[in-house]
Every structure is written in structure tokens, then in C-alpha cells.
């Protein structure tokens, strides 16, 4: 891995055309190193979700460049052809709610990603179990998602995000439904996983409880990002 996990330069996103055009993102710049967890904070309507969707290769930016590891994803209108495979193999997602697949047991929720990538079932499950054990939910591997507590479900969701060993994980309000203790526990886990798997993690949050835990924070306002050092730096 080079010196950064994900880097975006001059990213912009415009919705609509002509008089009705809205610039949701304007000249966004951001760099996150492997093993680093950064916060992305901004009020409603600031462009957080749009930025997250661009980073997640769900929507295409209008201009700018995005690089994942050593691979250019977008470059001023050009994009790699298979965004679906990119999302599967190189980006992990953790959502506000765990959004586990309710009809798969815990281990298959995690093993599904490697299976989708063509890994054999046995290897995928072995890898999934290792991740679940690393996240201290290995004993619930055969449980159904509905049988887990909120904190356990979120840890399984993190394990799923790590399943294909992506260079970057995007976490969208991952602590929103959790109490303080569990929220801080999730952040601890994210930091631990970032270092253990050398993954760059971007956490979008409003959660006052966890903001002080970030070493670096990106504020987004009116479609522009501003970087500041977090309290954890001091």
C-alpha cells in the first residue's frame, strides 16, 4: 500500500442542469492513510451523503479525481468500468443500522462478500469466523441476526465490511442507535481493525460522544471540506 488509502482531489458533484442545477459538492479534498480513522462531520444538507455516495462508488462525481490505494477510480469524467466489483472487493460499508441480511446466519452474512467475489464457501466461512472472533462475536456465528443485540449486530456488520480486506471502509453513522458505552466500543473496534488490517476508515457522524475520539476530522459545509485536528491528537 502507498502512503494513502483513499485520496480525493477537487471533487465536485452537480445535480441537474441550467438554472435548476445544484452543486452538492464543490472542490472537496481529502486524504486518509491506511490504518487511519477520520471523522466526517457536517450539518444536514452539507453534502455528507453525496460525498459518501461518491466515495462508495454509488454515484459518479462531476469532476475531480479519486484514488483508492494505487488505483484511480474517477478522473474528471473518466471512471473505472466495473464499479460494482470495486464496491465488492475494495470498499467496505458500515451503516447506521447494521442491515444484516435477515435470512442468513451471522457467519454467512460475513462470508457472503468473499463468496460473491468467487471465493470457495469453505474458505469464505473460515475467513468470516476469524473476523467474528477478532470482533468477539465468534460464539454467535450460527445465530440469526434477529437473535443478536444491537452492539453485536454492529460488530457483525463491521466484520462484513472487512470480509474482503478492502483498503477503505465507509461508516455511515455507525453509532447512532447505540448508547455511549457501546458507541465508544464500536469506535475502539474500528480503530483496532484499522490498525490490524491496515484499512483507511471514514466515519460519518453527528455523535458528540465519539467526535473526541478522532485524530483527524473533516468538516463539510456547503459542499466544501475543511480539515482540523481532532482532540485525540493532543
Amino acid at each position: 500500500m502507498d502512503g494513502f488509502g483513499i485520496r480525493i482531489e477537487g471533487l465536485s458533484k452537480r445535480y441537474g442542469e441550467g438554472d435548476t442545477a445544484v452543486d452538492a459538492l464543490k472542490d472537496v479534498n481529502m486524504t486518509v492513510a491506511p490504518g487511519e480513522v477520520v471523522g466526517l462531520i457536517g450539518p444536514s444538507g452539507s453534502g455528507k451523503s453525496t460525498l459518501l455516495k461518491c466515495l462508495g462508488a454509488v454515484i459518479e462525481p462531476t469532476t475531480g479525481k479519486m484514488t483508492l490505494g494505487d488505483e484511480v477510480i474517477y478522473d474528471n469524467g473518466w471512471r473505472i468500468p466495473d464499479l460494482r466489483a470495486l464496491r465488492r472487493d475494495r470498499i467496505g460499508f458500515v451503516f447506521q443500522a447494521p442491515y444484516l441480511i435477515p435470512f442468513l446466519d451471522v457467519i454467512d452474512n460475513v462470508a457472503l462478500l468473499p463468496m460473491l467475489a468467487g471465493q470457495p464457501n469453505g474458505e469464505s466461512r473460515k475467513r468470516a469466523l476469524e473476523l467474528l472472533e477478532a470482533l468477539d462475536v465468534g460464539h454467535r456465528a450460527k445465530a440469526q441476526p434477529s437473535q443478536l443485540s444491537g452492539g453485536e449486530q454492529q460488530r457483525v456488520a463491521i466484520a462484513r465490511a472487512l470480509a474482503n480486506q478492502p483498503p477503505v471502509i465507509l461508516a455511515d453513522e455507525p453509532t447512532a442507535p447505540l448508547d455511549s458505552e457501546r458507541a465508544l466500543s464500536v469506535v475502539r473496534i474500528l480503530n483496532q481493525m484499522a490498525q490490524q488490517f491496515n484499512t483507511a476508515i471514514i466515519v460519518v457522524t453527528h455523535d458528540e460522544k465519539i467526535i473526541p475520539t478522532f485524530k483527524r476530522i473533516y468538516h463539510i459545509r456547503d459542499g466544501k471540506t475543511f480539515e482540523e485536528k481532532g482532540l485525540a491528537q493532543n
Binding site: K48, S49, T50, L52, K53, G56, V58, I59, R84, A85, L86, R87, R88, D89, F93, F95, Q96, Y99, I101, P102, F103, L104, D108, A111, L112, L113, M115, L116, A117, N121, Q144, R160, D172, E173
Partner: protein, 397 residues
Amino acid sequence: MISLAGRDILHSWSKFVLTGIGLGLLIGVTLTMAGVYRGMVDDAKALLNNSGADLWVVQQDTQGPYAESSSIHDDVYRSLLSLSGVARAANVTYLTMQVRLDNTDVRAMVVGFEPGQPGEPGYLIAGRHITRNHYEAVADIKTGFRLGDSIRIRRHDYRVVGLTKRMVSSGGDPMVFIPLKDAQEAQFLKDNDAILNERARTAANPALNRPGVPGLLEAIQASQNANRNVNAVLVQVASGSQPETVANDVRRWKHLEAFTRVQMEEILVAKLIATSARQIAMFLVILAVVSAAIVAFIIYTMTLGKIREIAVLKLIGTRNRTIAGMILQQALGLGLIGFLVGKVSATVWAPFFPKYVLLEPGDAARGFVVVMVICALASTLAIRAALRVDPANAIGG
């Protein structure tokens, strides 16, 4: 790769099974309707098989004796026997009527036949054949009659001496076999009041009651009361003779109509039950459309209930064809459960139908294919909805 559809079905198996049972009962009705049609065709073929005839000789310009009324003299069979290629010929009468047993009556086709000749019941499952010239009967078990029962046909009582099976009319009415003479009387003999009125009417007619011609009135009245008609003559052709050749001779020389077995089958299946068959076909089409609508609605609703999961699956890189395959497999799974329930249901309730329901394996196989095709088509609506789901839905905002 694990089967997403299979896991979803196992996860919510009670919903699937209950839905499948509902769909299965509908499929069971559809299979039964097809069975009713097959039963009608089989009844018609059984009627022809059981008659033991190669040719049906009936009144000219009619399509009797089953599809139209036919009346020919009961001595015609003698002249038929003289034709080249005819091995056996026997009179028969057919009359569909209410046969009384105590205070109840049963709709049955009363068959008049000559013992030992074509037209007699092929085999008995209990009792014996008719041995007396009068007042004995052999009944199909579907009449509900038992050995020794005394049944009433018109003015006379008959004792049931034998029971037979699968002897039904083309309309599915069970048959009651009685001696030919009794059947002729039951079919053609008038009641006493009508005979008295007829005699008075004839006596009052000066053309038929001439003063100078003694015995004329009595002769006419005797001829009016006696009946020498039957509905058809059943003919068996001699070995080596072609039924069509003999039928042509009958038509040419005897001024009667003769039908071969193929022609009679055509009359029964293509003409007599054609309207019923079209009626059933309409039901089948409607049931197929209703089944498709139900499957489409169920699968579509189930898919809408999983929109968030589908968005997550798409976001994490699941191929569209994997998601479409999941929905298609679920629809086919529902169809499979429905078909199994339907087949079992139809098999269980078919014997309780008043008319014969014939469930043929070929129909079941065709039904299975149709159910699967309908389910596959019905799932397209849900697949379209799933493929339109934006993976961005999984991300807040």
C-alpha cells in the same frame, strides 16, 4: 455460493408454506377441472368399450343412440345378421331416467339388453348376471344400490341381482341393466289412462272404425299398444371384416345409419361433450390467470418487503443476475410447493366427486410445467422492481 433464495425460504418457511398451500388449493382445483374433462372423455370411451360393439346401427339421419334419439324396429337385427361380415347383432335401448329405491331416486341410464349379446355389462364385481326374462337388474355401484335391493322403474319393481363398475353414460350417469322387453316397455309403453284415451280416440275415428270391417279397430288398437322399437342395434363384425365396409353395406342396403367405433367416439367426444369441454377450458384459463396474478402479487409484495436488503446486496457488489435469480427461485419454489399441495389435494378429493375425475400423469406433468412457467413470468414484475432499487438507498440521506 450459497442459495439466497433457499435461505430466505427456510428463514420464513411458515409464510412460504401457508402461501404455497393457498396457491396449491387453487392449483388443485385447476388439476381437478382438467380431471373432470378427462373423466368425461373416459366415461365416453368406457361407454363404447363396455358395449362390446364394432358398429352402432341407428335410425337414418340421426346420430343416435347417445347424442340423439333413435328409434328402429326390433327385427332389424335379423336382417343385419344376414349381411356379410356381421358376426353378432343385438338390440339395445337406452333411457336416462330417475330410478326409485324406497323414498329416494337416483338418476341413471336404464339399458335394455339381451343376455349374452353385445350390450350386456362386461363384468360383475358382485352377484350374478340376469337369468330371468323379467324384473331383474344389474346396477353400476355408483347408483348406490346393493344386491337384493328392490328398485322401481316406471310401473314395475326389479331386484338387483348383480353389481358392475365403470358402466356409465356419456353424461356420467350410472347404468342400470334390465331385460330388453322390460326396457322397451319402460321406454315406450303408455300409462293405462293414456291407453284408454287412445282407444277411445281411435274408436271415434270413422276411418279406423269402419262398420263393415270387423277386427280392424282391434288390430289398430293392438298395434298402438305394442311397441316393437329399440334405440340401436349393436353389431360385432366377423373376424377379418372391416367395420367401415360393413357400415357402408348397412347404409346402402338397409337405409339405416351405421357408425364405426371411431365415428362414435368422434360424436361423443367432439360433439356431445364439446360444450362442456369449452366450459372447462374457460375455467382453466381463468384459474391460470388468477394463479399467475396471485403468484405475481405475493412475490412482488415479498420483494418490496426486502427492498432495504436488496439495496444492501447491490451496494456490497451483488450481481443483478444473482438478485434476479433469488426472486425467480423463490417464485419457482412457491410454484413447486403449490403444485405438490395441489396434486395431493386433487388426488385426495377426486374420489368424492359425483362424476368420474381422471387425474392423468401426463396432465400433472403438463400442469407442473405450466405452473413453473406462470411462476417464472409472474416473478418478472418483482425482478423489475428489484433491479430498479438504487444501491444508494442503503446509505442514509
